[in-house]
């Protein structure tokens, strides 16, 4: 324990340097503005900052990218409360509970609750992240190849189950993502596969442009399909700024914040689940706990606090499988892993073994980030509200430009930009017809690792009998299947409840 505190204090000292503070502050502020701006989410925000991040030190790259996701969660809440439009699906319930508060003149109070809940959720998330990630990585590094196969399969399959209601489309999306990971030189035999004699594909499809296409460019085409019928907010919302929360509100949000933080963190750890699922679970949990409350769906501060704290603790929870196991906790984490990979650092169990100082610097940065969220969140409420009234058309056009810049500036190849556009079109059409894109992106990133762990694992165990008879491997594969089926059923149930909750809104 004393070693942990010593390492942690060194990490905090490293994260307190001028450069680290600059990137933490920049990322938090950018994240808040990105979350408040219509049409842009944290994934796109991280994608456009990627060409900057790959040129920084690994610690500063992590600080910049992670603080964008943290800030964006709060930025989402601003527009959800004051404008009534969720910046992302995760903020839907913030609209349900926060916007009615604004409509009855309590917008300032709702914003303060959102800020306090976000900061407390983030703080709890960071503390648990620090407590869990190193022990988890130390366990994972001892796992052998068959168990590694089981963990990766668990991550991919669970992610698919949690975001789709059609099992066959989920399976097809995973299979397509794994197929996209195959082009290039086979790691074991050195044979070229699916390169068709093209030198560009010799080292495989470029990860970052493909991910930017699948996750970010797709939104551009989706916006085009919606056309001018997309929402256009004309008036800046009026609200009375409330500088602090009264004591009775602090007491009222204590239990919801605890419930929301716990739910958000546990769900956030599950790969692919992310903040959206965490906020829904937290909302249902607090409703069950506080059954006597009658203002659900009409401006419940308990509901608002639970949802916002779950969102923020969930974004930190996503970091745990990403850094400890090398399995992205959410699509945005794929970009973080890609940024580290360009610097020769691979997220996963080996990170704690080979670069422990990086992990502890990240711990320190996240702790300082909590303070920055409190200060910058407070200060950026007004500019963020102004930005939320900018036309989505302008923000989308800007996003397109930034994504193209991001794809091009990595390797200075126009072909990378064509890849982004092509995969963006593919992702748009597939998502239009119900195929989930996030698991496809995860499968693409993890496909090579999955294949290598399977083939090398079979070499190690001398065949399938030895491979599948390993208890942990078998257990992980069975749990993966159960998580897939259970995730689809939970997804269908939550969609039904979300429709019911939306209908309750004034």
């Amino acid at each position: 324990m004393s070693e942990l505190f010593q390492n942690l204090s060194e990490g905090i000292a490293a994260a307190s340097g001028a450069q680290a503070l600059l990137y933490l502050s920049l990322g938090t502020l950018l994240g808040i503005l990105i979350g408040a701006a219509p049409g842009i989410g944290p994934t796109i925000g991280m994608a456009v900052m990627l060409p900057v991040a790959v040129r920084l030190s690994p610690e500063n790259a992590v600080f910049l990218l992670v603080s964008i996701t943290v800030g964006a969660a709060f930025g989402n809440s601003l527009t959800s409360i004051l404008v009534g439009v969720p910046g992302s699906p995760a903020a839907l319930l913030t609209v349900v509970e926060g916007h009615p508060l604004h409509l009855r003149g309590e917008g300032g109070r709702a914003l303060q609750i959102a800020l306090v809940s976000s900061v407390l959720g983030q703080l709890a998330g960071v503390i648990l992240f620090i407590a869990f990630v190193v022990p988890l990585a130390n366990i994972a590094v001892r796992l052998l190849l068959p168990e590694q196969f089981g963990i990766v399969m668990f991550g991919i399959v669970t992610a698919a189950g949690l975001v789709t209601r059609s099992p066959w489309k989920g399976i097809a999306a995973i299979a397509l993502g794994l197929l996209l990971a195959i082009p290039g030189q086979d790691a074991i035999t050195g044979q070229s596969r699916f390169t068709f004699g093209w030198g560009y594909l010799q080292s495989g499809l470029p990860e970052i442009p493909v991910i930017m296409g699948l996750l970010a460019f797709k939104e551009i085409f989706a916006a085009a399909a919606k056309g001018p019928s997309a929402f256009e907010i004309r008036e800046r919302p009026e609200f009375k700024f409330q500088p602090w929360l009264p004591g009775r509100d602090w007491r009222a949000i204590t239990i919801p914040v605890i419930v929301g933080t716990t739910a958000g963190l546990i769900i956030g750890i599950v790969p692919g689940a992310g903040a959206m699922v965490g906020s829904f679970v937290a909302y249902q949990a607090i409703k069950m706990l506080l059954r006597r409350h009658t203002d659900w769906g009409r401006g419940s501060i308990a509901g608002l606090a639970a949802v916002d704290s779950a969102q923020n603790s969930g974004t930190t929870g996503e970091l745990i499988p990403t850094l400890a196991l090398g399995i992205p906790g959410a699509p945005a984490m794929v970009i973080l892993m890609a940024a580290l990979a360009t610097q020769g650092i691979y997220a996963g169990p080996q990170l704690a073994r080979d670069r422990p100082e990086l992990l502890y610097n990240v711990f320190g940065g996240l702790l300082i980030g909590v303070l920055l969220l409190a200060v910058l969140g407070y200060a950026s409420i007004s500019p963020a509200i102004y930005l939320s009234t900018v036309s989505p058309a302008v923000t989308m056009a800007l996003t397109m430009v930034l994504i193209v810049v991001g794809s091009f500036a990595l390797r200075w190849q126009l072909l990378d930009v064509w890849m982004s556009i092509g995969f963006g079109l593919l992702a748009y059409f597939l998502e239009r017809y119900g195929y989930p894109i996030a698991p496809m992106a995860l499968a693409f990133i993890l496909g090579r690792l999955l294949e290598q762990s399977l083939r090398r694992g079979l070499i190690m165990t001398h065949g399938w009998g030895g491979f599948l008879s390993r208890p942990l491997t078998l257990a992980l594969l069975v749990v993966a299947l159960m998580a897939f089926v259970g995730g689809i059923q939970m997804n269908r149930r939550m969609a039904r409840r979300a429709a019911q909750d939306s209908a309750l809104r004034p």
Binding site: T189, S391, R455
Partner: protein
């Protein structure tokens, strides 16, 4: 025709998911794209069969994984394609696939009675147009440089997303192109064309 009285939240047209929202036949599109996935899997199986056979030290070889994945993709796509047909043949028609919603429908929100004419009018044509604009932007970036290409690219995107406001087609792109160029080259030290 005068505009309807505005409420605090105003839309330019029927939101996505509204019954009046124009949309193509979703089932046809789903079938087309599922068939494309089947073609991809068939192509993959044909390509992978040319790889070398198993070696003693590597029981699976480089062929096994792509082959299995392609078969799984083909199987899943066939189920998706044939399920509605089988259901109709058995007298149990399946509901239409759900349209993807990127934002929830807003209850009780007033929207303008006058619908602005989008350019182009059909959604899929707009998507194709957007693809053309993005492609042209990439080509122009190499030919005329970053700032002129960005001005034209943003203007093209704004024309598709918000055809009503012609002022935006000039002011916003020009300001953004110059700001982004200065930010990335001078502040963030990222080279641009």
């Amino acid at each position: 025709m005068p505009l309807a009285k505005r409420s605090p939240q105003r839309l330019n047209g029927p939101p996505f998911g509204h019954p009046d929202y124009p949309g193509p036949d979703v089932r046809t599109g789903e079938a087309v794209w599922t068939f494309i996935l089947i073609l991809i899997s068939v192509g993959s199986i044909v390509t992978v069969s040319s790889l070398s056979v198993l070696t003693a030290h590597d029981p699976l070889g480089p062929r096994f994984f792509p082959l299995v994945i392609s078969l799984i993709l083909m199987g899943a796509a066939l189920v998706i394609l044939l399920k509605p047909i089988l259901a109709m043949a058995l007298g149990h028609p399946t509901p239409l696939p759900r349209k993807p919603e990127s934002s929830p429908p807003l209850a009780g929100v007033d929207w303008q009675l006058v619908k602005p004419k989008p350019f182009p009018e059909r959604p899929l044509v707009r998507v194709a147009f957007m693809g053309a604009v993005c492609s042209a932007y990439v080509v122009l970036m190499d030919v005329v440089g970053y700032i002129p290409a960005t001005v034209l690219g943003m203007a093209g995107v704004l024309l598709i997303l918000d055809s009503q406001r012609t002022r935006r087609l000039i002011i916003a792109p020009a300001a953004s192109a110059i700001s982004i160029y200065l930010l990335f080259t001078n502040v963030l030290h990222v080279r641009l064309p």
